[in-house]
Every structure is written in structure tokens, then in C-alpha cells.
Amino acid sequence: MIKVLFFAQLREVLGCANLELEANVRNIAELRAQLAQKGQSWQEFLASDKALVAVNQTLVNEDCALNSGDEVAFFPPVTGG
């Protein structure tokens, strides 16, 4: 299983804070593609130019490999400080 988390406006527009998926995706690009099938807003707001992604609490790129047990988080560009 892969745990997927959503934060801030992404959580709000998707209406979802977290979900679990079978680990049948090899990397982040494939995970985005799979999640995009959940509907129009998922396709729109999870696009790689809109949502940053972290695997196990570290920012990663599209080709980051995924394994069962990973925690993946999608979120908008950060605005702290």
C-alpha cells in the first residue's frame, strides 16, 4: 500500500485529506496519471506544474520510484515564513 496525503487548497479542492492505494505504480508520474482518473479536479489540480510532491517527507521529482509503505504527499507551492 501507498499512503497519499493532500494539503492546503489541494485538500480542499479535491475534498480529500488522504487515501491509500495498492502499490501498482512505479513512480510519481504513474501515480499522478492514476489519480487523474478520479475526476476533472484531480486531473487539473494534481498536474506536475501545480502540485509539488514529497515521498517520505522529502521533495522529489516525477521519476522518483515508489514502493509499498511509502508516504506520498501532494501540495501547492509552500507559503510559510
Binding site: F7, A8, A54, A73, P76, T79, G80
Partner: protein, 155 residues
């Protein structure tokens, strides 16, 4: 420095912080560092022309401390620093409230200034915090600023 307080202090917290206590923690039993630089970020009343009433700060708890620790480690690789203290608040914050503190000591002022500004610039683009602004016209998430991205990339 065997009896000195820990050289790094990183905290993500709801409660307010006390600048005088932070300064004390940076300087007590620390006679080797001649330079102290502090940054404090506060909730200001106007953002891009909007009258702000309050901010709400969300974060990704499992990641924030880790991200901030990595930034402090990077700063220590770049500059010779003494103590570093970094506090970021989360939750709802009213006008004028303190949001973030970065305090750095060093033997020399150049390193302390650079590391403090570096930490703020990197935190703004790499630490998972998000601000929602409350105004008379309602609430909305603040958009990330291109200028912050450019600043962080300049280091």
C-alpha cells in the same frame, strides 16, 4: 562548548515565542560568537492591497521538522555558525502576531546575516507551510510568490 545548550533548536508550534528568551538561549555562555542576527516575521495588516484580519497556518507535520533540519544543516555547511534557533508557528494568528523566528550566532557578522537570510529564503520555498488569509471579503489561500522562488534560487 560542552555545557552549552544544544547548538540547533528547531520547533514548529502553536504557542507564541518570546524573543528575549530566544536571544538569551543564543547568547548565554557563548562568549565566542560576536554576532547575533534575528529575523522575526509578523502578521501584517496589508498584503498585496488586501486588508488582512488574520492568518491560518497549515503544515505537514511529519515533514516540517525534517525540512527545517535539512535547511539548518545546509546553512552549517556553507557558513561557520555558532547557534541556530528556528521557530515556526502554525494555527490561527491575529494581526501583529509573531509567525516565524530565525536566530543565528557566529564569530563574524557576515556569516550570521547570510545564514539567517538563507534560512528564511529557503524556508519560504522548501518547508511545507501554507497560509490562508482571512479578510473582510472572506478567506483564501495565499499564492506562492515568484520573487520568493527567485530569491531562494539565488543562493
Amino acid at each position: 562548548m560542552t555545557n552549552a545548550p544544544q547548538q540547533n533548536h528547531i520547533s514548529v508550534q502553536q504557542q507564541d515565542f518570546d524573543l528575549a528568551a530566544e536571544y538569551q538561549a543564543l547568547t548565554a555562555n557563548n562568549q565566542s560568537d560576536g554576532a547575533v542576527v534575528h529575523f522575526v516575521g509578523l502578521v501584517r495588516d496589508n498584503n498585496l492591497g488586501r486588508q488582512v484580519q488574520a492568518l491560518e497556518l497549515e503544515h505537514y507535520p511529519a515533514m516540517t521538522s525534517k525540512a527545517l533540519s535539512e535547511l539548518v544543516d545546509e546553512a552549517r555547511q556553507r557558513w561557520d555558525l555558532g547557534r541556530v534557533r528556528l521557530i515556526h508557528r502554525v494555527g490561527k494568528l491575529g494581526l501583529g502576531e509573531q509567525i516565524v523566528f530565525v536566530g543565528v550566532t557566529s564569530k563574524h557578522r557576515g556569516s550570521a546575516f547570510a545564514a539567517c537570510e538563507f534560512l528564511m529564503d529557503q524556508l519560504k520555498t522548501r518547508a511545507p507551510f501554507w497560509k490562508k488569509e482571512h479578510t473582510q471579503q472572506g478567506e483564501h489561500w495565499i499564492e506562492a510568490r515568484e520573487s520568493d522562488r527567485v530569491k531562494a534560487g539565488d543562493w
